[in-house]
Amino acid sequence: MIKIENLEKVYKTEEIETTALNGINIHVKEGEFVSIMGPSGCGKSTLLNVMGLLDKPESGSYKFQETELLKLNDRERSNFRKRNMGFVFQNFNLIDELTVFENIELPLIYNKIAATERKKLVNEIIERMNIVNRSGHFPQQLSGGQQQRVAVARALVTKPKLVLADEPTGNLDSSHGNEVMELLCELNEQGTTIVMVTHSSHDASFSNRIINLKDGHVISEKVNKGRTEELI
């Protein structure tokens, strides 16, 4: 589904240039759950931002189901993103001024879904995520685990082809963290492609494949046998 080739990204300040991504080549198949790991500053988050069209690389190619995405202009990138991708962040990134229901509804509004249809979709996902009794609450009134559930619900409500997760358990205790990981696995089993950046090898163990980055290079790729076998 995703073919990334020779991707390069350089951060420039007045005095120094930092190469965040240095000739990255990655392929992700449809239905795969891929973890990206590596030490701080290796380029994981940059890679995820580029994959999510939040950042532009200097060079390389990024094909999504044969569509070259790096040639798109800002408006086309926005449109592509909202139709095909969902995001889950470490710090949840819920809008404090909106209720749980309204937060989840937001991507549907940007996708110009009719109000009745929106209501139906949001209610479905709220039920699935087991947060029905929280739908009128504001983010500050929820626990971290609950907030991340809402964030996952928001990422999934548009039924995206690809979910990008940036350290989704980073701000959670282990029980809430496991809950979220199980949720992601469940989604993956239902066919959603997931790319996750993480520091935690425990979290990575939930995925099919682990890509290790260092200094902007892919240094290793490992198929997670346990998980693959489990799948078979």
């Binding site: 931002n49 950042d55 404090d96 001024e97 991507p107 940007y110």
Partner: protein, 796 residues
């Protein structure tokens, strides 16, 4: 989407209540001031706009150029209207209007006197009504006013006199206890915003005056209006008027006399000629407009500063929205919606504030003006425009900044105050805001000081506790003058009394040509005043040579002033005594005294050359000097005595000091407006400042905590937080002072008698701005400095 944006906007406003309050309060007050100023300006620009031919209507005015100085006169010689009709083919109509006043008496059917009242009246030629399309309810102006001794009334007057205006035509009104006038027409009430307040219009055919055929005598109450034919070239017409002036002017007149056509719509705004009922110069209208704009800009600056300062707090929301696919334009719309929400809310509050302030404003303008927020649809257009303008001014820049955040940085809260844009811009805006504030503080101080100076400057006579009582001047009344004066002088509390044509300082002045010693007319005119022998005592005028006027009912001798001596090049006052002065060619008498200069006009203007003489027949006023503590008790006694002496006339009196106060009504109004608006701008600026320092203090909480842990004292921390603000205020003062100096000198140059522009207003403004800034900023910084650093660091 709009609903959701609105929801976010409202919740955000609620969450940051204190900033919302600052924004809304600033905008509300700024906009309310703008609305008030707009209502005021609209009223003054609407003067004389109601006539169909307004673009072709002009008032003829007279102008003299002397070797020294010039004179502007709204009146024209009485024979002029007929001559204009005769000499100019370009003139479609020309009509004379002669202002006057007198006693009107209405009797009931049995012949008993029903109403007796003193009213302003106008003698008007029928042609006047071809120029101005007043709506006539009954009668036809061309016939109604063609015969002598006919009168037309406004609807209100007709109703007042006869109960129902429909019954007025055919009735009789007695005028000045002499003439019976027949009512031949009723016209619609003339609106308040009209330079010619017609109420009682008498046929010009019945007007008599010894100067009716004299070109040499010009009175401001004799005016002429003309309607030019469509397509007339004004430049050409003015050239012809020069020839016209030459044709009719006396060869003896040394000063050069010109006639000009003054467009109707300039009458209300040209203070050189005046309108007889107060003018509002365009420069004052502009001044107010600029103050309005300043207020608006100041309020918008608060908004921009707080919005960009708050922007960092919104960065996560922006990031999330962008990740979800929001376009930059959608975000801009969202933030502009928020600004619009606040602005609409503020404009509604501003309307309420305006309604509350309108009575105050009406009383500031002495109730002559009725203001209403909802009477004129154009006000709604203005409000709509105001909302759009403010939303755009205040909302556009913050929306541009906030919507431009990089989503990858925004979602990780990595937007710094530097990248949120506008640290430099915020500083620049604060400097602009403070400069405006400082300019207004200086302007207010200068205006108030000049007003104070005018109030306290010695006028050269003593106006305190002098009552000016009107007296009738018909032959029957003249015979009773001596009796009246005798009885008034006997009243307890009365010190002196004098019959005169006008008080020393008066807005009704006669200027005449004259010759001194030789028969050749001089190249300047003299202001003539008639007074009896007690005039000097009554007003405390000082004789510096010779003696005051002696008792006489007719012209016997002259007393002249120092300015007259100077203009005649007579160095020693004694040299003037015994010389002959001939005014208007037929009033010749010896100069017997020289009076010390006194201000005969307002202090904007220089003192005129003056000649005082006795003439009982030209008296219009009995000036009564009272004991200062006895005003209240003596005035009713004077009124009673007066009514005993002139039972068929109507009593009227004013105090000299009130009359003088009236000359400076414009300045007083300006002074009050400056005080109010300067106060408002100071308030807006400083709540904005408070908001900004609160925000900055909150942002720097962590830095403050770290510094404190490292050993900084509270005072050092307050100093650190205040430093940049004090620097900004200082720069603002540097910018403001030269500008204020230019404005103030220009304004003061309009006054002949004015204060010297000292350094004090500038120092005071600087001190005020620095002290208020220091207080505002320190309160907030100190609170921040006092916080326990552990809390701040733990929180972070």
């Amino acid at each position: 989407m709009f609903k959701l944006n609105l929801k976010i906007a409202l919740r955000n406003l609620w969450k940051h209540k204190s900033y919302t309050f600052i924004n809304v309060a600033g905008l509300t007050i700024g906009m309310a001031s703008c609305i008030l100023i707009f209502i005021f300006i609209r009223y003054h620009l609407s003067f004389d706009e109601q006539f169909a031919n307004k673009d072709r209507i002009f008032r003829m005015v007279t102008y003299w150029k002397y070797t020294e100085g010039e004179e502007f006169q709204r009146g024209t010689p009485r024979p002029l209207p007929a001559a204009v009709r005769n000499d100019f083919s370009e003139v479609e109509q020309a009509g004379a209007i002669q202002g006057s006043g007198g006693i009107l008496k209405i009797r009931d059917e049995s012949g008993k006197e029903k109403i007796k009242t003193a009213e302003d009246v106008y003698y008007v030629e029928p042609q006047f009504f071809k120029i101005f399309d007043y709506k006539w309810l009954q009668g036809d102006p061309q016939q109604a006013l063609s015969n002598p001794n006919t009168v037309a009334l406004s609807e209100k007057m007709a109703t007042r006199f006869f109960g129902d205006w429909r019954k007025a035509v055919g009735q009789t009104i007695n005028f000045q206890n002499k003439t019976d006038l027949k009512v031949t027409g009723v016209f619609e009430n003339v609106p308040e915003n009209s330079s010619i307040p017609l109420k009682v219009v008498i046929s010009y055919a019945g007007y008599t005056n010894p100067n009716l055929r004299k070109w040499g005598s010009v009175s401001s109450s004799s005016q002429c209006y003309v309607l030019l034919k469509a397509g007339t070239e004004l430049v050409q017409m003015q050239a012809q008027l020069r020839a016209f002036a030459k044709k009719y002017n006396s060869d003896k007149e040394v000063g050069e006399r010109k006639y000009f056509l003054q467009p109707l719509r300039e009458i209300h705004h040209d203070e050189r000629y005046g309108s007889g009922r107060g003018t509002m110069p365009m420069k004052q209208i502009w001044g107010l407009g600029i103050i309005g704009l300043f207020l608006l800009i100041t309020a918008c600056i608060n908004f921009i500063n707080l919005a960009t300062a708050q922007a960092i707090g919104r960065s996560k929301e922006v990031g999330v929205r962008k990740v979800m696919g929001s376009l930059r334009s959608q975000l801009m719309v969202q933030f502009l919606t928020e600004t619009l929400t606040i602005t609409v809310f503020a404009v509604l509050l501003a309307c309420a504030v305006t309604e509350l302030a309108l009575p105050g404003m009406a009383s500031l303008f002495r109730g002559n003006v009725t203001f209403s927020l909802f009477a004129h649809p154009v006000i709604f257009v203005f409000l709509f425009g105001l909302v759009l303008l403010v939303s755009f001014l205040a909302g556009f820049y913050p929306a541009l900044v906030i919507s431009g955040f990089n989503p990858a940085l925004a979602i990780k809260n990595k937007i710094s105050s530097a990248s949120s844009g506008g640290v430099g811009l915020r500083k620049a805006l604060v400097i602009v805001q403070f400069s405006i504030t400082v300019i207004l503080i200086i302007a207010t101080l200068v205006v108030l000081k000049q007003m104070n100076y005018m109030r306290e400057k010695s006028l050269g006579f003593n106006p305190s506790a002098v009552a000016l009582v009107d007296v009738p001047s018909d032959s029957l009344s003249l015979e009773r003058y001596a009796g009246l004066k005798e009885r008034v002088l006997k009243l307890p509390g009365v010190l002196h009394a004098s019959f005169c044509s006008a008080s020393p300082s008066s807005d009704s002045n006669n200027m005449d040509n004259f010759s001194f010693e030789t028969s050749k007319e001089r190249d300047f005119q003299v202001n003539t005043k008639q007074a009896d022998e007690d005039y000097f005592k009554t007003f405390g005028l000082k004789i510096i040579a010779g003696k005051p006027l002696s008792k006489s009912d007719t012209l016997k001798e002259y007393v002249i002033n120092e300015t007259m001596l100077r203009k005649l090049n007579i160095p020693d006052p004694q040299q003037a005594i015994g010389k002959y002065l001939n005014i208007s060619g037929d009033q010749k008498a010896q100069v017997v005294g020289v009076v010390k200069d006194f201000n005969n006009l307002n202090l904007r203007e220089a003192i005129s050359p003056i000649a005082l003489s006795s003439s009982k027949i030209r008296s219009t006023t009995l000036a009564v000097k009272l004991q200062s503590g006895a005003l209240m008790s003596t005035m009713p006694a004077i009124e009673k005595t007066w009514n005993d002496v002139f039972p068929e006339h109507v009593y009227g009196a004013v105090f000299m000091e009130d009359e003088i106060g009236r000359y400076y009504e414009g300045e007083q109004v300006m002074g009050t407006l400056f005080k109010v608006f300067a106060g408002t701008i100071i308030f807006i600026s400083f709540i904005g400042l408070f908001g900004l320092i609160s925000f900055i203090a909150a942002q720097r909480t962590r830095e403050v905590a770290i510094r404190k842990v490292l050993g900084a004292s509270n005072l050092e921390l307050v100093h650190m937080l205040n430093g940049s603000f004090l620097a900004m205020v200082f720069v603002a003062n540097l910018v403001a002072c030269p500008l204020a100096y230019i404005f103030a000198s220009k304004w003061l140059s309009g006054y002949t008698y004015r204060i010297e522009l000292s350094i004090w207003p500038f120092l005071i403004a600087m001190l005020v701005s620095v002290v208020i800034t220091l207080i505002t900023v320190s309160v907030r910084s100190y609170q921040t400095a006092l916080k326990n650093p552990v809390d701040a660091l733990k929180y972070e």
